[in-house]
């Protein structure tokens, strides 16, 4: 890999923010280091944030704070997560392997990059890796690619499971930008590829994620995280659904549905969810919700199957959430 400068950040460094702009943060390294070995990422300087004090998981009156440096494993197994936000527990545990989850951090999980085959191979054209070089996936292998919110320049997906649950829970992300704290709603973190697939998210260089805030409502009674993949463990989602419900007397009081594996960001449409509030929690309505949520979906050949699959997965997930086993 390309030689790079390595520094370890301490809390003191955070006040003098300018130094951070030209560095790449290293957290667990499970994604970044891989990409450096492949020559996909070639940072000149790396700032190891592993020593910063953002590894706590704290309960507070309005919810739960997940430190950006807490590991995925510690997060999933934290009692508050298990009891109050079981959809998040299930999503995290469906991801990667236990070794990776022990190493991977929450901040890193948010900003992990796509698993598009062509993005990973520097011999291939890819607009995300090398803007303007073309997108080899559109006419190539796109079995793991997006069907929603795609653009002519990129059809990649965001690969995270955790983020799908965080989207459903309507988490907020706390960011340290130039010494000041910025709070971003979860759906504003990631973006659609548009003309600039090289940008995965709306953070600016030097922005440091400090923690993720979960609101009080955790949907601990009626939830499901359904992940459909090519093997029973250790594979990214072809399609995943985080479904959360609040039901009273058979009527939907609140519903959240976020999708993974179908777009450049976790896919969630607040307006569609709103439409179903007050309606009967029935398979018919779940089907209708699914249709509306994936309206305009487009396949690119080998990923066409995702369109019928994701509809059925949404209905299954909502039914499972409604009738916990």
């Amino acid at each position: 890999m390309k030689p790079f400068e390595y520094t370890r950040l301490s809390t003191d460094d955070l006040s003098s923010d300018t130094a951070l702009y030209d560095t790449t943060f290293l957290a667990g390294g499970t994604n970044l280091v891989d990409l450096m070995k492949y020559g996909v990422e070639k940072p000149d300087a790396i700032a190891d944030i592993g020593q910063l004090p953002y590894d706590q998981i704290e309960e507070f009156a309005d919810g739960l704070r997940l430190g950006a440096l807490a590991t995925n494993a510690d997060t999933a197994y934290h009692p508050a997560v298990k009891n109050k936000y079981p959809v998040l527990n299930k999503a995290i545990l469906s991801a990667a392997s236990s070794q990776l989850r022990n190493r991977a951090t929450n901040g890193g999980n948010l900003l992990q990059r796509t698993r598009c085959y062509y993005f990973y191979d520097t011999a291939m054209p890819c607009n995300k890796r090398e803007p303007g070089s073309g997108c080899a996936a559109i006419k190539g292998f796109n079995r793991i690619h997006a069907i929603l919110g795609t653009s002519a320049s990129c059809i990649a997906t965001h690969p995270s499971d955790m983020c799908v649950a965080l989207a459903a829970l309507e988490a907020k992300v706390h960011i340290l930008r130039k010494g000041a704290t910025l709070v971003m709603p979860f759906d504003q973190i990631h973006r659609l590829p548009g003309e600039h697939p090289e940008k995965d998210h709306n953070l600016e260089p030097g922005d440091l994620i400090t923690h993720i805030e979960l609101p009080n409502e955790g949907f601990s009674q009626n939830f499901e995280y359904l992940k459909i993949r090519d093997r029973e463990s250790y594979a990214f989602a072809l399609v995943s659904v985080a479904a959360c419900l609040k039901v009273s007397a058979g009527k939907i009081e609140d519903v959240r549905v976020a999708l993974g594996g179908v777009a450049h960001k976790p896919w969630k449409l607040k307006e569609v969810e709103h439409e179903f509030i007050g309606k009967e929690a029935s398979t018919e309505n779940f089907k209708s919700l699914a249709e509306k949520l994936i309206k305009g979906a487009q396949g690119f050949g080998t990923n066409n199957f995702k369109i019928p699959l994701v509809k059925r997965a949404i209905v299954r997930a909502l039914n499972n959430a409604l009738n916990p086993s």
Binding site: M1, K2, P3, K37, G39, R115, Y117, Y118, Y120, D121, T122, A123, M124, A136, K139, G140, F141, R143, I144, I228, D230, R231, E232, S233, Y234, A235, F236, L238, F305, P308, L309, R312, A313, R316, S325
Partner: protein, 730 residues
């Protein structure tokens, strides 16, 4: 004394492996320069310019090798073949500027560290004149030709007529995608360069003799100039049957730089050479009203490279497994722009039997006969391809035992809570050759009664060290602790390559042979020094616990052999093939049954249960044998539902050259899995009566899963791997 053969002996090399002290080829600790290969990014064309200046200037770089500076002596009258080269011209690294496949090695960077070499390789600027990639097997079917393949088993009877007259027929096409070996240990070669210009080569290979032959041919190094060693191999599955390019690279660099050089492939580079080829089968089968198989035709077209004609025994299996008088077998090859395929666990057998066992299932259903009964009905007890009897065949006992264990006739249970889940049962027959090859071994005893037995064979994780120690202990009559079996060194007596599941039968028989010879020697020395016993009949002597026993008297081997000359303490032996190997056909057999569940909405296929019952002659070590079967069965599951080498249709490049996207089966995919053996007595297959089991377990498994999916859903997925989208779309 307790016998070792037939015992679940723990692996004698187990402690070394679990403690990390087993030295694989990349574990040699001399000071090495490290080599890294740059690969082509196009599939076809030529290199027009290659600028290595930036790479040369990079810190730590010691040398760069490309087609521009390949030593002249490696170009003329040089023999690049190895003992398993198929017809054609083997790949010659850096021979010229032509690109034959995407991922071809085009430059070798040697540096002080691996990371320096890897990064420096990315600084090499390559300019190509690119030509169009002409696609994979399917796009090139028009070029299929039987001229490139050896003739399959002869046709018999009148297929056309018999097929026409059959009451029930099926005609179907089955496709298998390309599979990669993916052993845990990546290929590696460490070369130690000695002052006198000789080299010691630690290579990942399934037979050190192959590396030696290759180095002799390419670099002109005689046996006095090169020694090849390979103590441990971390799985190979056929990927080490031929020397791979890291051997060439590390040796070239060591000889040119006169330094120790090591090259370890990356996981991605493990996808830059051989693989199990993509094949397309066309099956036509017909049977009579009562389910008697009347006509069978099997045509297979497989991919090969543009420079070698890689062939397997695929269609012959269809002429062998069931009784059928009218058989037509055809096998053709189509060159594609890729590296040459390579034998992979049960090469050919896996492919041929996959198509056959799916087709048999389809025909049984056409005829309305239970698939197990259909197979029993068409059972055959002689080799129709060769017109020979079998050395032994207890397949019927496998069917019976498997049926009982699995509960083939039981009603499928479906869960009320999960109405979307469909359950299905499927089965298949499997078979693999039981071959014996000539092998040589040597044996030495020391003054303490410790025995060292040497042979240039390999242990690719199969348990050769253990099994040979067991055989020697019993055949000498000593405790197993007294045996040290040594392998993987060209200084040792010749062995066939470790492949074809023939190591136990070949090397094992040679070990048994040398031990018998040594017992005669002990008896001779004993008689010579004990005049009273001159006339004792050899068969009246007992050899056990390291002692010779006669007439209630005990003499220790060590004691007897104190009287022997130094020469008498060592003995060599060449074991030829047993006669039965020519007069009879030797095969191991199995029956495999699986249960699958299919989520009919989401397409998810799971395999909650697999049962395999095998007949493989004498089982020397039930533990290592069961390990082999289970491993092969899990791979069969992977082949059926997971594995696919994805070749991009425009670029001809493998797009999933990593463990995240090339899906091998993982623990979570494996649920209830069971393997066991039935008794099979065989005195013709080899002196041990043992048949190899390294490959058997993978044969048939993919068809059993395919057949079970049909049973569950009524859908025939005539392709591998079978993915959830296939369920959704059929």
């Amino acid at each position: 004394m307790m016998l070792n053969i037939g015992n679940k002996q723990q692996r004698v090399d187990g402690p070394q492996k679990v403690s990390g002290s087993a030295t694989y080829s990349a574990d040699i600790t001399s000071q090495f320069y490290h080599a890294y290969v740059l690969q082509s990014s196009i599939a076809c064309g030529s290199i027009t310019a290659l600028d290595t200046s930036a790479a040369e200037a990079f810190e730590g770089v010691k040398g760069i090798f490309t087609h521009k500076n390949l030593p002249e002596r490696l170009k003329n009258r040089v023999d690049y073949t190895d003992p398993l080269s198929p017809p054609g011209k083997p790949f010659r690294p850096f021979y010229n500027n032509k690109i034959l496949y995407n991922g071809q090695p085009i430059a070798l960077v040697v540096a002080e560290t691996f990371e320096q070499a890897r990064y420096a390789s990315s600084l090499i600027k390559v300019t190509y004149k690119e030509e169009e990639f002409k696609g994979s097997l399917y796009e090139n079917l028009k070029n299929a030709s039987a001229d490139r393949t050896p003739d399959p088993a002869s046709n018999r009877g009148d297929f056309k007529k018999a097929f026409k007259n059959s009451e029930y027929t099926i005609t179907q096409e089955y496709r298998q995608s390309r599979n990669y070996h993916n052993p845990m240990e990546p290929h590696a070669t460490s070369v130690e360069y000695k002052d006198d210009g000789s080299i010691v080569v630690y290579d990942k290979i399934q037979g050190v003799g192959s590396s030696l032959k290759y180095l002799n041919g390419v670099f002109g190094l005689g046996a006095d100039k090169v020694q090849v060693k390979s103590d441990f191999v971390g799985g190979a599955f056929g990927s080490g049957l031929r020397p791979q390019y890291q051997l060439f690279m590390a040796t070239l660099a060591a000889l040119e730089l006169k330094r120790n050089v090591q090259m370890v492939m990356t996981r991605a580079q493990m996808f830059s050479f051989g693989y199990r080829p993509e094949v397309i089968h066309t099956m036509k089968l017909g049977c009579s009203k009562d389910g008697t198989l009347q006509a069978l035709s099997h045509r297979t077209v497989g991919e090969t490279s543009t420079f070698e004609d890689f062939n397997e025994t695929i269609v012959d299996w269809s002429g062998l497994l069931y009784k059928c008088e009218h058989v037509n077998l055809e096998y053709e090859l189509t060159p594609v722009q890729s590296y040459t395929p390579l034998d992979m666990r049960a090469p050919g057998g896996v492919s041929g039997v996959y198509a056959l066992e799916c087709a048999i299932d389809e025909l049984a259903h056409e005829a309305g006969i239970d698939p197990l009964e259909f197979r029993r009905k068409n059972y055959v007890d002689y080799d129709q391809n060769e017109d020979k009897p079998f050395t032994s065949k207890e397949l019927m006992a496998c069917y019976d035992r498997c049926e009982e264990l699995f509960g083939w006739k039981n009603k499928k249970t479906s869960s009320e809570n999960e109405p979307h889940l469909l359950t299905g049962f499927g089965m298949a027959t499997g078979s693999w050759e039981a071959l014996q090859q000539p092998a040589s071994v040597s044996l030495t005893m020391d003054e303490n009664g410790m025995f060292t037995i040497k042979c240039a064979t390999a242990d690719i994780g199969t348990g050769t060290y253990t099994v040979m120690s067991q055989i020697a202990a019993d055949k000498l009559g000593v405790p197993i602790e007294k045996i040290e079996f040594k392998l993987g060194d060209t200084a040792y007596p010749d062995s066939p390559i470790e492949g074809g599941s023939w190591t136990v039968s070949s090397v094992g028989s040679a070990v048994a042979g040398v031990c018998k010879k040594f017992q005669y020697r002990i008896a001779d020395v004993w008689k010579r020094n004990n005049p009273d016993y001159q006339q004792v009949d050899f068969d009246a002597i007992l050899f056990q616990d390291g002692n010779l026993e006669y007439d209630a008297k005990t003499f220790s081997f060590a004691e007897i052999m104190q009287q022997a000359s130094k020469e008498e303490l060592s003995i060599a032996h060449n074991e030829a093939k047993i006669e039965g190997q020519t007069t009879h056909s030797g095969y191991a057999h199995c029956c495999v049954m699986v249960e699958v569940t299919v989520d009919q909405d989401l397409g998810i296929i799971k395999v909650p249960r697999i049962v395999n019952v095998s007949a493989a002659g004498k089982i020397i070590n039930p533990k290592t044998a069961e390990n082999q079967l289970l491993g092969a069965m899990i791979w069969g599951l992977g082949m059926a539902l997971r594995e696919e080498g994805m070749v991009d249709s425009k670029y001809g490049r493998i797009m999933n050259a990593n463990f995240a996207e090339y899906h091998i089966a993982v623990n979570a995919d494996v649920h209830n899995i069971h393997a066991e053996f039935v008794e099979e007595k065989d005195d013709k297959v080899n002196p041990l009566g043992a048949k190899g089991v390294g490959e058997l377990g993978i044969v048939g498994l993919a068809s059993a899963i395919s057949n079970a999916i049909y049973d569950a859903t009524g859908k025939r997925l005539r392709k591998l791997p079978m993915l959830l989208d296939d369920i959704l779309e059929v």
